[in-house]
């Protein structure tokens, strides 16, 4: 027997509301199956199981808000029924990710119908005073999308909610808590290096000219791959600072900061990014951005990024020095590509240049290693065809 608990979907999560069970007692589950949907400040999250087995019983009823770590269900291991009398906790599986943090007690909210919905939909519903429970969801997994809310707002059937959910504020508070903790606990050091991306952008333009629109690549994907490969060379930047020690990441799972329309951001992981082709990474990035914005990410994507990339170049920022997302130990920020005078081979030329910067936890690594990491990214981006 093992206990399936409310997972920690990032350092800023304290509690979640069980929305629905996707599996019932007696049904078999395989590692990676989606067993439940949980509602958080980041929208509805599909929760995966971490082992094979059979659902023994469901402990928490839909509509209940519980702190992280609360037992949600009991699962019989695939090896057969556990011997009777063994306390479930004795064989509880390792937590899904080394995100270890004592959660402050959160009073369980009274059971109320909670509807999966995108953050933008929640915000608009709040503005319009619409109860999401009364809105028919057309998004993934029946999630309420912004369109659904607008539609409900326009129809006479949409009745004002008794107590509109203030989700955007919840996300703001969650980000505030995580970032304040980071600045309180993590001794950041910061490094930056300008990178000539003439080769990378020319390669990308060539490549995209040959591709149909749906198969085109974005520069962001080259950056993600370069960061992932760079981390192979400097592994002490890939992982977590937990209980006073560095815990290396199991795999290189690159969290990509995605800003949500209507405010807030999430940084879901692209798993094993160092071993994937640019095409696969591009497909996964498109998919995850889409799901982040409609509010249907999966638990593993939020729970286990081992590093984060923040790409603020889109907003026209030249360079940025981000705040590490605890318990990770490094964050890479990328600025915009801009034409600059560049000295090379004894001459000055105009070249497209971007600034990559590293915010790293000095407890886990030193500036020298951080510098090697940025140099590795630079070197990798000079050979885009090998990414």
């Amino acid at each position: 027997m093992s206990e399936f608990r409310m997972p920690v979907l990032g350092a800023d999560m304290e509690a979640g509301t069980l929305v629905e069970w996707r599996r019932q007692p007696g049904e078999t589950v395989t590692r990676g199956d989606i067993i439940a949907v949980v509602d958080t400040d980041k929208g509805a999250i599909e929760i995966e199981v971490f082992e094979d087995g059979v659902v023994d019983r469901l402990v928490v009823q839909p509509g209940t808000k519980v702190p992280v770590g609360t037992v949600l269900a009991v699962i019989r291991s695939a090896g057969g029924p556990a011997p009777a009398g063994v306390p479930a906790a004795a064989v509880a599986p390792a937590p899904p990710a080394p995100v270890v943090r004592p959660a402050p007690p959160v009073p369980a909210a009274p059971a109320a119908a909670v509807t999966p919905a995108s953050p933008a939909a929640r915000r608009r519903a709040r503005e319009l005073g619409i109860d999401l429970a009364g809105v028919r969801g057309t998004g993934p997994g029946g999630a309420v999308t912004l369109d659904d809310v607008v539609l409900a707002g326009a129809s006479p059937a949409g009745e004002p909610a008794a107590a509109p959910v203030d989700r955007a504020d919840g996300m703001r508070r969650a980000i505030a808590a995580a970032m304040a903790r980071s600045k309180r606990e993590i001794p950041h050091y910061y490094l930056a290096t300008p990178i000539d991306v003439r080769g990378a952008t020319a390669w990308l333009a060539d490549e995209n000219a040959r591709r149909d629109v749906p198969d085109r690549l974005l520069l962001a994907v080259l950056l993600i791959k370069a960061v992932a490969l760079g981390l192979r060379q400097v592994p002490e930047l890939n992982g977590f600072w937990t209980d006073g020690a560095f815990v290396p990441g199991r795999g290189i799972h690159v969290g990509t900061a995605i800003s949500l329309r209507g405010g807030g951001l999430v940084a879901p992981a692209l798993h094993e990014a160092d071993g994937k082709s640019l095409d696969v990474l591009m497909r996964e990035l498109r998919d995850v951005v889409q799901r982040a914005r409609t509010g249907t990410l999966r638990s593993s994507e939020l729970a286990d990024p081992t590093v984060t990339i923040s790409n603020l170049g889109e907003q026209g920022v030249d360079e940025a020095f981000g705040i590490i997302y605890p318990p990770q130990v490094a964050l890479v920020s990328v600025g915009r590509v801009v034409d600059r005078p560049w000295a090379a081979d004894g001459r000055i030329e105009v070249r497209p240049v971007l600034t990559a910067s590293l915010s790293a936890d000095h407890r886990a690594s030193d500036g020298h290693r951080g510098g090697l990491f940025l140099a590795a990214i630079d070197r990798l981006l000079q050979k885009p065809e090998t990414l």
Partner: protein, 92 residues
Amino acid sequence: MTPDALKQTVLDALAGVAPEIDRAQIRPDVPFRDQLDLDSMDMLNFMIALHKALQVDVPESDYRQMATLASCLAYLAGKLAAKTPAGPDRPR
């Protein structure tokens, strides 16, 4: 395709990328990026939606001509006009 139908198609594609936009509020001469906060992923998804709806392939080098609603409509109208004479759907 009539200008109105084309505009409708373009606005539908935009709404698919940025569902919260108010179509009536879109200013035709202000870049989408500035008024709708679109990033490069949004722009790519916008192109993919247009590709699906109109079977038009916009090369990356022409993206700057797609920056505003007005320039985008003019560009697509030109593309469609150039395509129609040889198009398979043309009545014979």
